[in-house]
Amino acid sequence: MINEIIRINVSSMTHTMEEIPEKYKYLGGRGLTSAIVADEVDPKTDPLGPGNKIVFAPGILSGTSAPTSGRLSVGAKSPMTGGIKEANAGGLTATRLAKLGIKALIIEGEPNHEDWYHLYVSKDKIEFIKANEHANMGLYELIGKLWEKYPKSGLVGAGIAGQRLLKNAGIFGNNPENTDPGRYAGRGGLGAVLGSKRIIAIITDDDGGQRPMPKNEELFNTGRTKMVNALKEHAITGGKAGTDEGALKNYGTNVLQNIINEAGALPTKNFRSGYFEGAKNISGEAVHELVDEMKEKFGDKSEGEYGHACHPGCIIRCSNTVPDKNGKLIVSPLEYESAWALGTNCTIDNLEDVAMLNRICNDIGIDTIDAGNALAVAMEAGKIPWGDGKAAIEFMKKGYDPNDEDGATFMHGAAVAAKTWGIDRVAVVKGQAFPAYDPRPIRGIGVTYATTTMGADHTAGYTIAPEILGSAGGADPRELNKADLSRAFQSTTAYIDQAGYCLFIAFAILDIATGMEGLEETVAGFLGKEKYDITAVGNKILKTEREFNKKAGFTKEDDRLPKFFSEEKLPPHDVTFDVTDEELDAVFEKM
């Protein structure tokens, strides 16, 4: 197999292999998943019906020696937003697929049976394996069992929530050590799409596979060196774990907990305040200290860690493992968005409780951001007391019981939970819940939430980098004209997602010009093109996605934030979201 598309048909339980068609030759990752979904899925189709397809595609550079490039894109029509969706994650599967020469794995059709299956993909065979005994099993147990039989395999799939077709079901992925199923392509309910095909896990084994080789080695290597140097040199992406240098290696993404709080933009108690007194207790610094403490106490026996890589070949290594008081793994990773959603947004400031809530999300197969917003909605509805971590844990465990109505409602995500429980206050765009930045004091990220094709999503156009973190020369967070900034970030992000790079390379390449050159040169060199323009290619991906959403029935009115963001002032800075509708519309109108 080389440069192939594998098509799995769950109606006939067969597969075909196709050589990658000319029109997809220069695509990968998000570019490829979105192109295939746009070409083959009717935008009006039922996301959980026979017409939807789910596509897994490694990035263009996944499996190569380009640093931090092993990301997997998963695409389909989203059951949560009703629009197109791409979610991406680290883990093992992208590099495994790439080494098997598989550019995309498409799962399509409608099962005409009641059984559950795993899909096993290797150099010599692709087969369905009956897996009824693994249905409704917690994912920590499942990945352990699968590795006993298929050691070192990449695993992605649908957990309990996905198997029950609940809208906040993510696609889980095992981490390189197989200690946690927490490498999620979490957002938008893609786990439910896989569940509708009655597939639990996709097991990839790259034994006998080969590293994909660039067409123009010289250009690729030049770009690669520039990228490695930029990532090593930059204070955010470089440094060394356990030293003063290297923000991501030492504190992970959750270093943002304190800074967004100090900026007065940390959404607290379901977006009632921008400041949370307890933020410091669940911050990246707190995890760092806990890891050090447990290492001191238990030495190498402690499973706590920072500076962890979520996939082979990541040199940024922002991931971590949160230990309990005995040094045993609670969850890996605990990221900023998750700690915020399950902690701050519910006013829970006990680190162990927050880590445990994240573990349950990972175990039952749901996205943490929407889960945290849904928990806050449950608190609004009086089902759990605000700030009560233990009660939240008990509530979330209802998700294991297939007969528990609250558990099922919760696992549909915040929008459905709010509707079902009669709560008006819910922070969603296109049915998908907000991430960890209040858009009232930080306007650019609000423009991204409103306009991205994905539903409220920070990664789609991470303007926080200039607005708060001072990247790319900085930008005033209160400035209202943010269409250009958001568009530029959305476009570059689409390119990065297509390349298979992790979005966090952005910190280095925005500040270091040669790093940005390295991005284009590695991609162009791999593909054997002279140039592969970042903005043009990024825009094309966005247009394909936007077109799909339009045909699915989205209008300008879907590119708006919930009303309370423009009406209710957010303390401590007492600001509202004042960006005009015209400015929001300009993101795509002026593209």
Partner: protein
């Protein structure tokens, strides 16, 4: 005059013994800038990357006022 001060992440070592996010009151000379404060802690300018005065971004030349809350982060990122 007095200002309130918080250092985060790798800068916290300059305020030994403080908890994460703990506020420290320091006395400074009237008319001091943020640059003067970081110099007094021997923190280099490239490390004082993100600076808030009362929750609003400021740069090193800002002249501090009585009871200002000065919060400094080194270069950090996430998402």
């Amino acid at each position: 005059m007095n200002i309130r001060l918080k250092f985060y992440a790798s800068l916290r070592k300059h305020l030994p013994g403080t908890e994460i996010g703990e506020e420290v009151v320091i006395e400074i000379i009237q008319g001091s800038t943020i640059k003067d404060v970081i110099n007094s802690f021997s923190i280099t300018e490239d490390l004082a990357k993100i600076i808030f005065i009362n929750g609003i971004h400021k740069n090193l030349d800002y002249i501090l006022e009585e009871n200002d809350l000065l919060v400094i982060f080194p270069p950090i990122g996430g998402g």
